[in-house]
Amino acid sequence: MGEKDEKLILDIQDLKVIYKTDIETVEAVNGISLKIEKGKTLGLVGETGAGKTTTALSILRLLPQATGRILSGKICFDGEDLLTKTEDEMRAVRGNLISMVFQDPMSSLNPVYTVGQQIGEAIKLHNHDLSHEEVEGRIDEMLQLVGIMPSRKAEYPHQFSGGMKQRVVIAMALCCEPELLIADEPTTALDVTIQAQVLAMIRELRERLGTSMLMITHDLGIVAQICDEVCVMYAGKIVESGTVEDLFRGEKHHPYTVGLFDSIPNISSRATRLKPIPGLMPDPTNLPVGCEFAPRCEHCMEICKKEKPQVYSEGTHKFYCHLFDSENLKTGGSENESK
């Protein structure tokens, strides 16, 4: 806290999201709070089912209407609560002020329109007063920006490779110069060399356009290379958050984060055995009473099974874990980052 609101592009407070069907209620996001400063990139890390994508869809209010419900919380974008906006107002936000890149480029493009038409559609929708030539000019500019020859704008998605398609999707997302770009696993479907190309491009565009970003990923490598701040999510909760330095250089970590790091085979040193986290993610329709991670945690104490932990912080580094309760909160060696 203590942050001036003008510095924040996105401020989510205590967001709770459920998916409700006749049979069961899935508690997808259970009271998360996160902030993104202007021009910064926040990484949201976690495994399948942690609630990363649900968080992103809540920001854009794109949750499936039949089942998804935002129970409580605030999503302040540039000082305005998105949750109180009408559908019409939201439409002016989506793609214009906040845009999103999805994981699978093959399914986010329409196969029967040319890529030029699809980029143009987004431009025209938010800029009614542009002439045809201006729109075309803008399409060329966008394609050039993402490294595709503008002459290819008359081609259809199937004529592009996976990496190129993802570039087209990124061009579409950036064509209205959004203030916030949400990238949901943008490179997971791509090969490593193509991933490197796309990541380098994202890095460069971010510097050039000053866009803030919410980067959703499960790859800690991408976090280390791209993000400024990180939130680690587990079963709908943010279990640890901080700057990348906190996460990669900090001494103390949430046991889940430790497990996550131990599970990746290390490319620079050969460990004989990996140390996986035992067990599985809890059933989101029936979450544990205490800490969500308690059943898999090797440091599990009595209190963990009964009570949900609070958030403990050391400077910018925050933990959601009973281990950091008062007696464990030693201040020695905390590396406070001056924001």
């Binding site: 090969d191 290379q225 599970s263 990746i264």
Partner: protein, 345 residues
């Protein structure tokens, strides 16, 4: 991978290929060169990692080795026996010894079969046991072996998560006591914490049962972790083959170097360095032009690279590369003016 020159009989590789080729016919009589001139040797108890980008032919290679796809040319030797020309009937007993674990644990098992039925299916086909009860007992044993709780025996796949489904696939592959298993991206559909569980399981099983794995993947950190030797494929050809440690310490082929440099590392030390990017994308494998397949994207491309195929040669013991930069012109004596001395030991 050392050739044995002494009197001691050399260990016979469990799987060996000689100049293995698989071409697919596509429109207009053209040929798609999916797998081209692959030479490899794999011994019992060892793992050969095969890495490369999508479309480079790694899965096709795995399936061709098992003769699930008929090779176009070259030879496949299983335990010294040439199996290239064997017909379906003669292959059948060998099929027990060669198995495959598939990438997608959601589509490789029959949704209408319970766990124990899925695991015992192969044993029933091969009539391993005279009666049903024994088959079931063995299936339960296999569930224990791969760490699937017995209470799931009568569950259906939709009740299980990806990691458990992958364990079913592994149990089924083990049911016929194979000696060789092709693992075709067995962990890429899984979350990291589950991925680590499955990798540990595969390595334990290997120690216990002396299995040989061909581990196909695009994830370099996984392949380094599990493999003894690594083969890097690019557009159907093998560009580099070396011991795992050696490959990562001393990559020689420009493509291998680019591939290694492209991995985002989970630490901050390399954060500010620019991504090493190879330009362009994989070219078409349909009727490829002569010359190195990587030439179009290679920053060291020389005239000869687009004219003739680089030979696959041993640059240091056990380390093979197909690149003019490293090998010079040829294995046969003429030296190239541009050949570098990069291939030191």
């Amino acid at each position: 991978m050392k050739a044995n020159e002494n009197n001691i009989p050399a260990r016979t590789p469990l799987i060996e290929t000689r100049d293995l080729k698989k071409y697919f016919k596509v429109n207009g009589g053209r040929m798609l060169h999916a797998v081209d001139s692959i030479n490899l040797k794999l011994y019992s108890g060892e793992t050969l990692g095969v890495v490369g980008e999508s479309g480079c032919g790694k899965s096709t290679l795995g399936r061709t080795l098992l003769k699930l796809i008929e090779p176009t040319g070259g030879q496949i030797l299983y335990d010294g026996q040439d199996i290239t020309k064997l017909n379906t009937r003669k292959m059948r007993p060998l099929r027990k010894e060669m198995q495959i674990i598939f990438q997608d644990p959601y589509s490789c098992i029959d949704p209408r079969k319970s766990v124990v039925d899925t695991i015992s299916e192969y044993m029933q086909i091969h009539k391993v046991f005279p009666n049903h009860q024994q088959t079931m007992n063995r299936a339960i044993e296999l569930m224990d072996l791969v760490g699937l709780a017995r209470r799931y025996a009568n569950s259906y796949p939709h009740e299980l998560d990806g990691g458990r489904r992958q364990r079913i696939g592994i149990a089924r592959a083990l049911s016929l006591n194979p000696r060789f298993i092709v693992c075709d991206e067995p962990v890429s559909a899984l979350d990291v914490s589950i991925q680590a569980q499955i990798l540990n399981l595969l390595m334990d099983l290997q120690d216990e049962l002396d299995l040989a794995y061909m581990f196909v993947t695009h994830d370099l950190s996984v392949v380094k972790h599990i493999s003894n030797h690594i083969m890097v494929m690019y557009l159907g050809t093998c560009v580099e083959l070396a011991e795992s440690e050696e490959l990562f310490r001393n990559p020689l082929h420009p493509y291998t170097k680019a591939l290694l440099a492209a991995i985002p590392e989970p630490n901050l030390d390399s954060r500010d360095k620019e991504f090493q990017i190879i330009r362009g994308e994989v070219s078409s494998p349909i009727d490829p032009k002569p010359g190195c397949r990587f030439a179009a994207r290679c920053e060291h491309c020389m005239p000869q690279c687009t004219q003739e195929n680089p030979k696959f040669t041993e640059t240091s013991p056990g380390h093979y590369t197909a690149c003019f930069l490293v090998n010079g012109n040829n294995p046969g004596g003429q030296t190239s003016d541009t050949g570098g001395e990069t291939g030191g030991r």
